[in-house]
Amino acid sequence: MSTQRPSPRRYVEAAISLPRRIRDLEAAVTENRQLNRRIAELTDLVAELLVPATQRDEHRLQASLARYRAETLAP
């Protein structure tokens, strides 16, 4: 591992780029936080609708879709 200190020029360049790097990091953190909602939405949908879908019961599936819309997706 090199113990050489960065040149003053490299040091200044790194310092100048810090605000942009912080903005990039904040954007990346926000994207990661948003994954929570994505996981919750998909898990909810699978938990509520996958079982009737895999049972291949058309009437139950139709009823489950209608109930999910009424109870979950109303405006």
């Binding site: 948003q34 929570n36 919750a40 909810d44 999910y68 819309r69 109870e71 405006p75």
Partner: protein, 513 residues
Amino acid sequence: MPTAAVTDSHLVVPWTATGSVVVSFDDTYVWSFTAPRDARPSRRGWQVAWPDVLRSRLTGTAQVRLGLDGTTLFDAPVAFGGSHEPLTLRDRHGHPLAVDKMGHLTRVFSETGEEVRHQVVDGVGQALADLRDEGYDAHLSYGCLLGAVRDGRMIGHDSDADLAYLSAHTSPADVIRESYAMERALRRRGWRVLRMSGADLKLFHRLGDGRTVHIDVFGAFHVGDTFYQLGGRSGRLPREALTPVSQVTLEGVELPAPGRPEAVLEFLYGPGWRVPDPAFANVDPPEGLRRLSGWLHGVRTDVIGWNELYRDRRAEIPWRPSPFARWADALLGDGTPIAEIGCGTGRDCAWFVRRGRPVRAYDYAGTAIRQTRRRLVRAGAGAADVAALALNDRRSVLVAGAELARSPLPTSLYARGVVGCLDDEARDHLWLLASMSLRRGGTLLLEFAATGTDEPSDPAGLHRRTDPADMIAGIRRRGGVVDHVDVGPGLDFFDRPDPRVARIVAHWTTEET
């Protein structure tokens, strides 16, 4: 020493008035403010503008009083707008209105009769009982808790009731999933529910005087050592302060409260919580706000703006079909089913019904859904097929995609002025919806304000101009084939000329090929 003054546009209070100033008209509470926070310095003292919601109603004469800690800063008749008619600030039922802590002109509890206050508390009690019965650790919170602990009464300047529940989950994804299940459970129990974010719901409780009071249900949870409560709070608060619940009395009714109400009130309002402050506004830690926003927000951005636009500017929105509707109608075969995404007032889809097409309409704004439903019925649609679709919510998109994929005939998708209202996530979901519903055939038809001009695109603040190349790339990423693109002069949302309007037609490869 400078004295207080009241004009049509603003109020002035002395430099020494740094506490909560309470404004009343004819001895009725109207608004409160804190000068150092809400006012700007002027030569004569603190100058604070009337809130917009009040200023537009200020015509007539009222006895205006400005009070501060039991002293009177100003008490005199004021003829707003030069009018000597009595100034009345009342709702359509004749009840006095005031500006609440959210800046809305509404009816506050101080101007609510004893009987109605009891009806509010009955609703709160029922909501708490239902939540606890369903297994949620719910308790009174915010203003309701503050009023109960201070003097057993509702806070006078409050306009809605607040509850919270402590989640056992410590991952935001699980907190959101729990909130989805809570929403379903409350609907099954007959509550009208509006989702405000991933972990707070608004319940609507109808009162005997015709008014509807809102009961907010805020999620609260720990992540690591930090406690978060919707409404923006974050910081250190141990679970023992919240659970198991204690009991407090509100308007004579015993209700569940946090285990240590005083500790929770200090967390919510700071150490000065015992001293009434009608103009209180908390300063929440920015890092906590950023986390809550990233985890829980973003599904129904701008929905309030759209609801207000459709309700308040309805007369300005044309009712005849747009030129794009006529263009799309000529492009599609006779009788081809069509689904309009973002139906707004229903001007185009009602015309498609008259043209004999089976129509399904989607929007995320409740006002748009109701207006379109009425218009489709008038247009002769047997059953008005209008449903909610929030393009930022994958559940909503996947269910709509499944519904359209299962419709008896392939259904074309029509979206006028929609892509300019969407963020990247919602746009990708629109292409996902198209890829699900158009695999058996049908066409995607888009019209939107295109980039390449500085002309603003209306409605102000809710639309952005969009680059057609970005839309084409998004459609292709989801497997679509673009058949037609043109950009030229067209009409905006209000049918005013727009120099750059784009039209895109695309299809998806059918399942058989």
